[in-house]
Amino acid sequence: MIARYAVLAMLPVVAFVALTQRRRLAAIIGMGLFSFLLAVAYLQLHAPDVALTEAIIGAALTTAIYVLAIRRTGRLAVVADEAPGLLAREGDRVVGLEHEILERFAKHLGLDLSVELVPYQEVAEQVRRGEADIGAGGLVLPPDVPDLFTRPYLETALFTIGGAETGEGAAPPMVRYDGYFAELEIERLDGAGRPITLDLARFLSVRVPDEAVVRHPERRGYSFVVGQRRSELHTELEAYLDHLRETGELDRLIRRYVV
């Protein structure tokens, strides 16, 4: 008797928890569990045909096709925010210096490259959580390095536009904006005015003439980031970047895309 109400009462709880997950895989598995509980509920409602069908479809097949859809086997999953010249959308393709490097790297590893655009702040987060293999998109090496950032492959500088960033004090300037760069572009070119610190590639794209610009003197660089548990991938990537540097290919690519 209690069991009947317990199962029914658990259903909204499990569904709510499953749908409020941040990771897609967790949500999918949660919904698989929900389907299983639902099948038990159907049994309690004296509907055995429905219970059987729901169990096999919800718990097995639906979960299977979702997992197949988001699986990353055979792929090099890159998360990045757009950065003009480095990694940007053009039509339905992605082009840029970093994209070319990563594409060649993926081919070198025998994998397909897949790029997912996420907000700048989320790149390191997602790589840390293991949801992607490599983070890219004009990432500027922060002073503290908890994750495995590669050595910078290209020098850059930081610019603050629109006046001094408030509340900075002695903290080193960092690229930090909310949301996607595409939104920022539109917002800036419409004339919105919060002071913001950007790297060179992005700065060139959103700069508006006659605006106060402060160039920070420290030398910074663009890097890729790899998760802490993927040290072999990190080693491979560093080795590949070194290889590009030595053969002069990196310079050729830089000249083609950036200069």
Binding site: T53, I56, I65, A77
Partner: protein, 235 residues
């Protein structure tokens, strides 16, 4: 959980709660004391020959509903194959990395087939039916593809064969619904003798429909799964 509280989101949640509350209150306030239950249960079993009353409904009294649902399923499978067909991997080795998973997955397939045949054949006597049967065998086949690799399977059962099976089952299903016309009866009626209640061979056309629907759903689900396994794309 970290949410950025946006006014529109809050409004959505509040509105949804209000609608849910209103529906629930309305239902409980106006629910009749004696709900209008259907009378399918009290009909004599000799009308259909099916002890499972649910099967008697969707494979006899309301057969047209099931046939059209199968048609919708067919169209959905067509859609999946069309849109996923353009980017397929040429070679799909086994998806599982561990030996244990590979071995044990293949062992479950015969069980799945047995279960599917049982459900389809005895769908008129106990819970089951063609829909569940087809899906169970298809997921068993997915296990085999995890274990042996899609290429090994498709060497044995090529894509063309599966397509023929699917379309053949659909054609036979539609033909079976029109069969009574040859006997001077209306379409969709059950023309086979009902037999003795409780036997496996009884229930008129119901086991036939169960089998045909089972095969159709099996082939269609397998085609969907196969397209997903072979797809090389990005999410």
């Amino acid at each position: 959980m970290r949410f950025r509280v946006r006014p529109l989101s809050v409004l959505t949640v509040v509105a949804a709660c209000a609608v849910v509350a209103i529906v629930l209150l309305g239902y409980h306030a106006n629910r009749p004391d004696e709900a209008p239950y259907s009378t399918y249960v009290v009909r004599p079993v000799e009308e259909t020959g099916a002890v499972n009353r649910v099967a008697s409904i969707y494979l006899n009294y309301r057969l047209f509903d099931s046939v059209l649902e199968v048609l919708v399923f067919f169209v959905a499978v067509l859609g999946v194959r069309h849109y996923l067909g353009t980017r397929e991997r040429t070679a799909v080795p086994s998806l599982a990395e561990s030996e244990v998973v590979r071995t044990s997955s293949a062992l479950l397939f015969p069980l799945a087939v047995l279960l599917g045949v049982y459900l389809a054949a005895l769908g008129h006597l106990s819970p089951g039916g063609g829909f569940g049967a087809g899906v169970i065998v298809a997921s068993g086949a997915l296990l085999v593809s995890i274990s042996l690799g899609m290429d090994a399977i498709e060497r044995r059962f090529s894509l063309g064969t599966i397509e023929w099976v699917e379309q053949g089952a659909l054609f036979l299903l539609l033909a079976a619904t029109l069969l009574p016309l040859a006997f001077g009866r209306a379409a969709l009626t059950d023309v086979l003798p009902k037999g003795r209640t409780g036997q496996v061979v009884s229930g008129g056309m119901i086991p036939v429909y169960n089998a045909l629907v089972g095969v159709k759903v099996l082939a269609g689900s397998w085609l969907i799964l196969r397209s997903f396994v072979r797809h090389r794309g990005e999410i």
